[in-house]
């Protein structure tokens, strides 16, 4: 493994795949087709984009001008804040995979993850400059900021839609349908997780109280 790290080809492939994200966001249909079918994307690049997205989220908290982003620090939990990206992402990938495998979607779980991460590229790409921009504008010019911010989200959403369409080899209407379906699947999973955790905690509480009782009697 370390031997691989020393080779120049490893890095050149990594950088080539990372650079391919820039091609994907401007040519989504073509780009996302090549991403999996021509193996022009890599997990490492996908992870990098995800990490950049998370970094953008955190940097946004601290460095965006308070005009646009007023943070109530006493109630902020940075792990929960990051989970607000990671948890829906995980649910999305699993839900989408679970649903599409049943309806001859061609994408594998890893590929769904990779394509989704590639689809998020506009977010860090726009948000990082916006952090700088926010510090040189006043409330009167706030519109520019909110419009750019909205663009980064809408663009990413459209890209993810295109990505799903290409890796599953679906038509547009089918993709939209399955996106809605994935949303429902995510809700079901959240419900089951809540149920699971509440049952586990009651179960644990039961054994804890039994143990307490025994200790108390002894």
């Amino acid at each position: 493994m370390f031997a691989a790290l020393k080779k120049k080809e490893t890095y050149s492939h990594y950088f080539a795949t990372l650079k391919f994200a820039l091609y994907c966001i401007t040519h989504p249909l073509d780009g996302f087709w090549d991403l999996t079918h021509e193996r022009r994307g890599s997990m490492a690049a996908a992870n990098t984009i995800l990490i950049l997205t998370l970094l953008a989220r955190i940097m946004k908290l601290q460095f965006t001008s308070f005009i646009f982003n007023k943070v109530y620090w006493p109630e902020l939990n940075i792990f929960l804040y990051l989970a607000s990206v990671l948890f829906p992402l995980a649910l999305w990938c699993v839900g989408n995979w679970g649903l599409t495998t049943l309806f001859d979607g061609k994408g594998k779980l890893g590929q769904i993850y990779m394509a989704t991460c590639y689809g998020m590229t506009p977010y860090p790409l726009i948000q990082f400059p916006l952090i700088l921009f926010s510090n040189v504008v006043t409330v009167d010019e706030a519109e520019f900021y909110s419009v750019m911010s909205a663009i980064s989200l809408v663009w990413a959403a459209l890209l993810i839609l295109a990505a799903m369409m290409q890796i599953h080899e679906y038509s547009l209407s089918k993709t939209v349908g399955f996106t809605v379906g994935t949303g429902l699947a995510m809700l079901v999973m959240v419900f089951i997780l809540l149920l699971f955790f509440s049952m586990i905690s009651s179960g644990v509480a039961y054994f804890v109280s039994v143990a307490r009782e025994i200790l108390f009697r002894m």
Binding site: F66, I67, K70, Y72, V136, T138, V139, D140
Partner: protein, 502 residues
């Protein structure tokens, strides 16, 4: 013996600890508080302290007061409407703490049928020496001179716009400098009744706009006639009390507010009306002017604050009186809360049924109709500093205002208005960079933007050369590089060199 001493010592120590912790709890739950940017309650040092509570005994009355409801202050004279005894008390404030009964007005001279009052509810005195009395159960507003001679009266409007089925029960009156009389009458919801100087009814002023949304409209369309009758009808709210400020604008308050309207910000319990009757109250604060933001139903009180009376200082700070929790809420000219204090109870500074509020200078007078007492408040050092800072800013003494706010902050570091006040003072002194820091601390984005705009302008003007060079470099260097590359490529491709490479 020694053992006993230690025991005693331990007991004393534990008592001290218990007492100490009790004190700590008291310090946390203060009498005076404010809301910060996030709407969190920030307890503050007291802005007002009680000078005294004056009951019938202190005022030297033979007959005890009975349900007093009206309070008016003119100069150093205090007028109390002793509604239950059908009389008006004229009291002079001779010293900070001393009040002296001047006379008891229970009848007047003049050629009218009834020369006494029946449940007088409010009184007003003008600068040119006339006394106006809302003589509720005699259905009239009386105008008397200071020797109690009958001048004229204002009766039930005969105009068609006034619902003639309603009996005329004036409850609160004010007079403006032109001698016009504005009246709040019971169950009249078209606004304030306005009389010209000669007693002619000249219409209603400041009716609250009727608000309803699309959902209400749909519901009304869908419901049957019976259901519709049960629904709340869309009628304007009636006012509870009024006050004319030093500029002649009318502050009006109403207790007829629905909880959900306060939640959505649709209801305005406090308004400032101009001559046209439109609301011109400045609402630049982070929170609505509705008194308490949280309506926990502790201690048997629930629901929103109901502002039953209002008064305004000459520095445009206005104070509302909440009859639910017996609290006073002061707001500055921008509609930001200055302080909130008071409560229900029997101690000095607490009320049982606060009914009326007025002010003398910066001193506040609250009339309690159940306790039959008048509580007099005067600002503490902290309160005086706040008012001084506000007034200095209004008079254009920006540097001095900043210093006053600094003193305020020394007494209370959690006082948001202090930081913003210093920021505004720095802004006026053109010290934009420092002002920005103060505004940022208290999340004041509007003022921050004002300061930042100026700072940015200055910065750009100072660094124009550098900016120009950077832009020039960014634009020209890639161009130059491209050019050089082209030349290099051309040289490489040139025919003369082909032979050498071959």
């Amino acid at each position: 013996m020694k053992k006993m001493m230690t025991r005693f010592g331990a007991l004393a120590a534990s008592a001290l600890i218990a007492f100490g912790s009790c004190l700590a709890v008291n310090a946390e739950e203060g009498y005076t508080y404010n809301y910060d940017y996030w709407g969190d309650v920030q307890y503050s040092p007291d802005t007002y302290k009680v000078v005294g509570v004056y009951t019938s005994v202190e005022l030297g009355l033979d007959t005890l007061m009975n349900n007093p409801t009206g309070l008016f202050i003119h100069g150093d004279m205090v007028y109390i409407c002793d509604t239950g005894n059908n009389r008006i008390l004229e009291i002079r404030r001779t010293d900070t703490e001393k009040f002296e009964l001047v006379r008891i007005i229970d009848s007047f001279k003049g050629n009218v049928e009834v020369n006494t009052f029946a449940s007088p509810t409010d009184v007003s005195v003008t600068d040119d020496g006339y006394l106006f009395v809302a003589d509720q159960n005699n259905h009239r507003i009386l105008k008397l001179d200071m020797d109690l001679n009958y001048i004229m009266e204002f009766d039930k409007p005969t105009d068609a716009t006034y619902n003639q089925d309603l009996s005329f029960l004036p409850s609160k009156i004010v007079t403006d400098t032109a001698g016009r009389v504005y009246c709040v009458a019971t169950s009249v919801n078209s606004g304030l009744i306005k009389y010209e100087e000669d007693g002619v009814f000249s219409g209603f002023v400041g009716a609250t706009p009727v608000t309803y949304d699309f959902v209400d409209f749909i519901w009304k369309k869908l419901s049957t006639k019976e259901q519709r009758a049960q629904l709340e009808s869309f009628v304007p709210t009636e006012y509870d009390n009024i006050y004319v400020d030093h500029e002649g604008f009318i502050y009006a308050c109403t207790t007829h507010v629905a909880e959900q309207d306060l939640d959505t910000g649709a209801a305005d319990p406090i308004r400032r009306l101009n001559m046209m009757g439109s609301d011109i109250l400045v609402r630049n604060g982070e929170w609505e002017i509705i008194g308490d933001l949280y309506w926990g139903d502790g201690g048997g009180y629930k629901g929103p604050s109901l502002i039953t009376d209002i008064t305004a200082f000459d520095n445009d700070v206005f104070v509302g009186l909440d009859k639910v929790r017996g609290r006073l809420f002061a707001y500055d000219d921008q509609g930001r809360m200055v302080c909130a204090f008071g409560g229900n109870g029997n101690q000095d500074g607490y009320f049982r049924r606060p009914e009326a509020l007025d002010h003398m200078g910066h001193d506040l007078f609250v009339l309690d109709s159940l306790d039959c007492s008048m509580t007099v408040f005067t600002p503490t050092e902290f309160g005086n500093d706040i008012f001084q800072a506000i007034e200095q800013f209004q008079n254009g003494e920006y540097t001095a205002s900043g210093e006053s706010w600094q003193r305020v902050l020394e007494l209370n570091g959690n006082y948001d208005l202090g930081y913003i006040g210093i920021g505004r003072s720095l802004l006026r002194q053109k010290r934009y960079r420092e002002a920005m820091d103060y505004f940022r601390l208290k999340w004041d984005d509007d003022n921050y933007s004002k300061a930042f705009k100026q700072y940015r302008k200055e910065w750009v003007e100072e660094h124009i050369v550098v900016i120009f060079l950077v832009v020039f470099a960014v634009l020209c260097i890639p161009l130059a590089i491209g050019k050089i590359r082209n030349i290099k490529a051309e040289i490489d491709r040139a025919d003369i060199f082909r032979d050498f490479s071959a």
